[in-house]
């Protein structure tokens, strides 16, 4: 039923292709994305040049997407950048989801905690997401772990709110009342009876968090406050190309197209999943 939806097919297919690209990066005619060669600086897309590997050996290489101002191969950096972006997107979604689920279940089920926890979440939501991420990265300095945590934290309140509202509806259902009457422990009711019924909307939410996280990671890298500049991410490639944009726009355009296509694929997949898994929500939006 899910695979019958065209949005799921298109978004999922494009995403699967990107995952394949990420996994197969070393065999797609790429070189080590950190290699550079002073003789091959600022080549235009498709031009041939040379690149020196770590042993100091020079080899011929065609720069499909040109090279940057250090003489690095933009094609290799973009292809390897797929790995970083997908990894960040998936990790952020998983992290925000798991913390949000625990907070949401606790808030929806334990009344004494509800007020305090939800006021805290309201406060966190009042700070625009990118600012939270920027402040946290400024605090910790950029690495994969800190960037993932920094991007995931502002997403937690949204998950918490979603889970909480689901819990509040589901806990009134007869089967939950029956479980309570049978003396089932609270923990088992929360994770065994209530959580399984929240899964469909959570899967949909996870795809949106994934898409947004990929965007924010690229923004952080682009602004120079994300992952260190030698790591091949789409944001870093674009940040490097900024200064020479007038003469060599390829440094911005190729990673930009990949970034937009990835986020679009995840968003389309999310819309398709929403329509098939959660018809009530589809009607509302």
């Amino acid at each position: 039923m899910i695979l019958g939806n065209w949005s799921v097919r298109i978004g999922g297919g494009a995403l699967a292709a990107l995952v394949l690209i990420a996994l197969a990066a070393p065999w797609l005619g790429t070189v080590d994305p950190t290699l550079f060669d002073a003789a091959s600086r600022d080549l235009r897309p498709g031009e041939a040049g040379e690149i020196t590997d770590l042993d100091g050996e020079t080899m011929k290489h065609v720069f499909l997407m040109g090279s940057d101002s250090f003489g690095r191969d933009v094609y290799s950096r973009v292809i390897y950048g797929t790995r970083v972006s997908l990894l960040v997107g998936i990790l952020c979604a998983l992290l925000a989801l798991s913390i949000g689920i625990v907070c949401g279940l606790a808030s929806g089920y334990l009344r004494w905690l509800d007020g305090l926890l939800m006021r805290f979440m309201d406060g966190l939501m009042a700070i625009p997401a990118i600012l939270v991420a920027i402040a946290l990265v400024a605090m910790w300095r950029g690495s994969l772990a800190t960037v993932v945590v920094a991007i995931a934290i502002p997403e937690i309140p949204r998950v918490t709110r979603l889970v909480r509202s689901l819990v509040l509806t589901i806990r009134e259902e007869p089967y939950v009342e029956a479980a309570i009457a049978l003396g089932t422990p609270t923990r088992k009711i929360m994770f065994g009876h209530i959580l399984p019924n929240c899964i469909a909307p959570l899967v949909v939410q996870a795809t949106y968090i994934c898409a947004f996280s990929i965007l924010v990671e690229a923004i952080l890298s682009f602004l120079g406050v994300g992952l260190p500049p030698d790591i091949p991410t789409w944001g870093n490639v674009m940040a490097e190309g900024r200064a020479q944009f007038n003469d060599y726009p390829h440094n911005i355009f190729f990673p930009g197209v990949f970034l937009a296509a990835t986020v679009l694929a995840v968003n389309i997949l999310g819309d398709g999943l929403r329509d098939t898994l959660d018809p009530k929500m589809a009607k509302r939006v």
């Binding site: 006021r119 406060g123 990118i130």
Partner: protein, 313 residues
């Protein structure tokens, strides 16, 4: 009405307080001595010691928060060691470009998105509706800086119609001011247009299913009047709400857009402050943006009274 306003203020204060606590914690949770971080890399031992006693860093954390929030409430956001001025003054200096950019962006977004959304709802399921919904997903997905460079490339570099980047103060002449602001605002408005158009379409669609629409059509009103006076008027509350919620997206976009277009506003200040690890400025800007966001949404809540006469507080 007055009780409602008071109740609404009472609900807003805890949110602002938690925002303040979180912003306060940014510095305390950063690795290293807060006084040394605040003073900057070039500070002397005496300067660091002065900051430590001034902020009560040798006292318990609650007392530290008390001192800090007391200063903030008096408008004292601390001093930037990087810019060597008061953070509050700094924010004041950088406010105009950001305010101009945001205002023009919202104007463009509303002017474009609302008619598109109404049209899509009117022709629900048709090619225009489907095209608009498809484009809105695209609008959500294209990163604002990629869009910025595409527009710079086409409009400024190829066609030479508008300046590539920079900002002119409104005092230097309205025409040049506007010419520099058009491209950044259009860039920033795209995601906003996608958001508002979707919500407009959904809420107009809901209104179009109501009995009063059938009545209006039955008494022979022209279709445009039915759409604007009956459907859109009844769909106003969700649309205004989403404009308010979208301010968070807008602020995020401002940070990026100002960096790309070299606009000396608050967004650019945020990035520069982070790059210089200028914590007083980072704290000040985040506090300012968040308070503005909460305040705007508070005002929007109040505006429902005028938009929907059925709402009485």
């Amino acid at each position: 009405m007055l009780t409602f306003i008071l109740r609404r203020i009472a609900a807003t204060v805890p949110v602002l307080l938690i925002v303040a606590v979180l912003v306060f914690l940014v510095l305390r949770l950063a690795p290293g001595d807060p006084a040394a971080i605040l003073a900057g890399d070039a500070a002397s031992t005496e300067q660091i010691a002065r900051i430590r006693t001034g902020l009560g860093l040798d006292r318990p954390i609650l007392a530290q928060f008390g001192i800090w929030i007391g200063n903030v409430l008096q408008g004292d956001l601390g001093e930037s060691f990087y810019y060597k001025t008061k953070v509050a003054t700094l924010i004041g200096q950088r406010l105009e470009p950001t305010l101009a950019l945001s205002t023009l962006t919202i104007l463009i977004a509303v002017a474009v998105a609302v008619p598109l959304g109404v049209l899509a709802a009117w022709r629900f399921g048709g090619w225009f509706d489907r095209a608009l919904m498809g484009l809105s997903v695209l609008g959500f997905s294209v990163p604002v800086f990629v869009l910025a460079y595409i527009l710079i490339y086409v409009v400024s570099l190829r066609l030479g119609l508008l300046p590539v980047q920079g900002y002119q103060r409104i005092g230097d002449g309205f025409w040049t001011f506007l010419r520099h602001l058009v491209l950044p605002s259009v860039t920033l408005s795209v995601i906003y247009i996608a958001l508002i158009a979707r919500v407009t379409r959904a809420s107009v669609l809901e209104a179009l299913g109501e009995d009063y629409i059938r009545t209006a059509r039955a008494k022979g009103l022209p279709e445009i009047r039915v759409l604007v006076h009956h459907a859109l008027a009844n769909a106003a509350v969700p649309i205004v709400t989403v404009i308010g919620i979208g301010i968070a997206l807008l602020i995020g976009g401002v940070v990026v857009t100002e960096s790309v277009y070299a606009i000396p506003g608050l967004g650019r200040l945020t990035v520069d402050a982070v790059l210089a690890r200028d914590f007083p400025t980072i704290q000040g800007v985040i506090l300012f943006f968040s308070f503005a966001y909460v305040l705007i949404n508070f005002l929007i809540d109040l505006s429902y009274v005028f938009l929907d006469p059925r709402i009485r507080y």
